[in-house]
């Protein structure tokens, strides 16, 4: 029997849980250095549930993922209102993997790649129809990302991204064993930060090369004619389109979770994964499985390692931390130099190794590596030295937590 939970029942319950959860955390967390961290963890969990709402709402007992028939990823919750113009879901700059059931929003990196190749000016996507051109779809994605980045910056990475939650949970696992995290040198950290732009450039260039026939009328690589499901029959889908998704660690994580929950059959997923590493599958590839394992192991030692090279974080940073966007970005981390005692706690506790809040002499210290997690603000022992401001208004500022000890 196919059944599902009605959104009209689930959403009020969901809202009440959020409000009660936030109230409890703010009211009952006694340790002031964990107040924001606990709140952030709660928000991350809620955001992950909201992003993959279909896993909670159902429908349950649908035919499970199979080469034929309905697949979990075909379920989009609350995204159909954009119709044929933008049927894959609203772009929100978090790793809301396309390859998961019932997502409410979609990863812009997937959309950017897919709308260049294979769906540039192509009417049929993965079980959806497009009435808009590739350029128009890309325009919508970029407009949404720019708008959201201007308002919230990399807040999405720090507070909403499901993969960020995964890495934070790994950090909590490490803390259970009372092991200190390792620190990358400033030079290495800067290089990793620069790697983001290289990754963005590579996947964009590859997508354009693959989509060259549809875009320019010249097929640079044979077999890269526009069209996904049709292309699948020619054996090109798993190998060429959405190049970043082939290495993205979020995809096997999603598939793994879906498999564990019984939404996907491991026998099918694993069939494609076995074999030489360059053989890639539709739902999971050997390459991104290897990347996930590597990131998982390394994230036990280094905090938020993938966020330092994440191209989606880079894209968000591009539209919030660099001129001309930087000047008008709404959410900022601000430092009061007069109150700073240069203790260096902010620099040591930053999960992504950002340093401007320590090194810069006051003012706006938001940088491209900063994901506005507010860990530095929470840990800063000088009252008002660091502040998170939204539209010039202080929403959270550092307090002298040493006094309460």
């Amino acid at each position: 029997m196919v059944w599902e939970i009605s959104a009209t029942i689930a959403l009020p319950i969901f809202s009440v849980i959020i409000l009660v959860g936030i109230f409890c955390i703010l009211k009952f967390t006694k340790n002031k250095t964990k107040n924001v961290s606990n709140l952030r963890l709660f928000v991350q969990i809620i955001a992950t549930v909201a992003i993959f709402m279909g896993l909670v709402l159902g429908p349950f007992d649908l035919p499970r993922m199979a080469p034929l028939g309905p697949s979990p990823r075909d379920r989009l919750v609350g995204a159909g209102f954009l119709g044929y113009q933008f049927p894959d879901g609203v772009s929100v700059p978090v790793l809301a993997c396309y390859y998961a059931n019932g997502r409410t929003v979609t990863c812009p990196i997937w959309q950017i790649q897919a709308y260049i190749f294979p769906f540039w000016n192509f009417p049929r996507g993965y079980d959806v129809f497009y009435s808009t051109s590739g350029l128009e779809k890309l325009g919508i994605v970029f407009a949404l990302v720019i708008g959201m980045s201007l308002i919230l910056g990399r807040f999405f990475c720090g507070w909403l991204c499901p993969f960020g939650l995964y890495m934070d949970l790994l950090t909590r696992v490490r803390k259970v064993f009372r092991t200190r995290h390792l620190t990358l040198s400033e030079k290495t950290n800067t290089m990793l930060g620069q790697l983001r732009w290289i990754i963005i450039a590579i996947f964009l260039i590859l997508s354009v090369i693959f989509g060259s026939y549809a875009i320019f009328g010249t097929q640079i690589i044979p077999g890269t004619i526009a069209g996904g499901p049709l292309g699948a029959e020619a054996g090109i889908v798993g190998n060429l389109n959405e190049p970043f998704c082939l290495v993205c660690p979020m995809r096997p994580l999603c598939v793994g979770v879906l498999t564990a929950l019984g939404y996907m059959k491991w026998s099918y997923v694993s069939q494609i994964t076995y074999g030489p590493f360059w053989i890639t599958g539709f739902y999971i590839t050997s390459i991104n499985l290897a990347v996930l394992i590597a990131i998982t192991i390394l994230s036990l030692a280094y905090t938020r390692l993938f966020c330092r090279i994440c191209p989606l974080g880079g894209l968000t940073a591009l539209f919030s931390s660099f001129t001309p966007f930087k000047q008008i970005a709404v959410t900022r981390l601000v430092k009061d130099e007069e109150k700073c005692t240069k203790c260096g706690i902010c620099k040591r506790v930053c999960p992504t190794g950002a340093t401007q809040m320590y090194e810069k002499k006051g003012g706006d210290v938001t940088e491209s590596r900063c994901m506005l997690c507010a860990r530095c603000v929470e840990m800063c022992p000088e009252k008002g030295a660091l502040t998170v401001k939204v539209a010039g208004k202080t929403v959270f500022k550092s307090r002298n937590w040493l006094e309460s000890l």
Binding site: L82, G83, Y84, Q85, F86, F122, P123, R124, F129, S131, T132, E136, G139, I140, A143, L144, I146, G147, L150, I151, Y213, Q219, P222, G223, I225, G227, L230, G231, E233, A234, G235, Q327, I328, A329, V330, E337, K360, K361, G362, G363, A391, G392
Partner: protein, 235 residues
């Protein structure tokens, strides 16, 4: 006395005979370098078959054990090549799902083949696949405005599939909407982003003015200005 005269209604059904064909039947097309043939690897029937302008026109074509919606009217021709039609499949578009028309054939000889299912180019997306490789339009195949698909890129001994995915009915309706309705999402998003940028600019301007109206005592002003200038040099 009222007399009702009921007109006599006659249903006239034109009797049409179906002719069966088998894989052994060949339909020859005369050509300059010898005749080309059309044949079928499956059994079926047709109501009428005639050759017009070097092309075989089959009316009421029906294949045994294959999925098809109604009978097919097919015009097929070949030059310097022989065509053996191996499969045919047609499904109708629904409200939410697309339909498809698909025909596969084995070709012998390096020539040209033309097919016309009576499906016009603008009702769906057309593809031609040779040995599981998609041929680019104009680079191996083309379609005319009346739906005639001409395949030139097939070599001898390969299986060619001509496929047309016909749009769902609701999708076809969406395409016939006025411009603003067809592009409402990007228009709305564009307006939204413009509003966000405008709002950000306003907030930026307000925040720029704020330090000038600060409550810093006059004797500390120089210090504040000094700090601001240091900041600006760093940026």
């Amino acid at each position: 006395m009222i007399t009702l005269v009921l007109p006599e209604i006659c249903y006239i059904v034109e009797a049409q005979t179906e002719t069966a064909f088998t894989p052994t039947d060949k339909f020859n097309i005369p050509g300059t370098s010898g005749p080309s043939t059309i044949s079928f690897s499956i059994n079926g029937t047709y109501m009428q078959a005639s050759i017009e302008n070097g092309a075989w026109k089959f009316v009421g074509l029906s294949f045994r054990n294959l999925t098809q919606q109604g009978k097919l009217n097919l015009t097929v021709s070949a030059q310097d090549s022989n065509v053996t039609i191996t499969s045919y499949r047609a499904t109708n578009a629904t409200e939410s799902g697309m339909g498809s028309v698909r025909i596969s054939y084995l070709v012998e000889g390096n020539g040209t083949q033309t097919f016309n299912f009576g499906v016009t180019p603008n009702v769906g997306y057309w593809s031609v696949i040779v040995q599981r490789v998609y041929l680019p339009q104009y680079g191996g195949w083309d379609i005319s405005s009346d739906g005639k698909v001409t395949v030139t890129g097939a070599t001898s001994g390969v299986v060619v599939t001509i496929m047309c995915y016909t749009y769902s009915t609701s999708y076809a309706d969406a395409l016939s909407q006025p411009f603003y309705a067809q592009h409402s999402v990007i228009l709305a998003v564009g307006v939204g982003v413009f509003a966000v940028v405008a709002l950000c600019l306003v907030i930026w301007r307000v925040n720029l003015r704020a330090p000038r109206q600060s409550k810093v005592p006059r004797h500390n002003r120089s210090l504040t200005i000094k700090h601001v200038s240091m900041e600006s040099t760093e940026r």
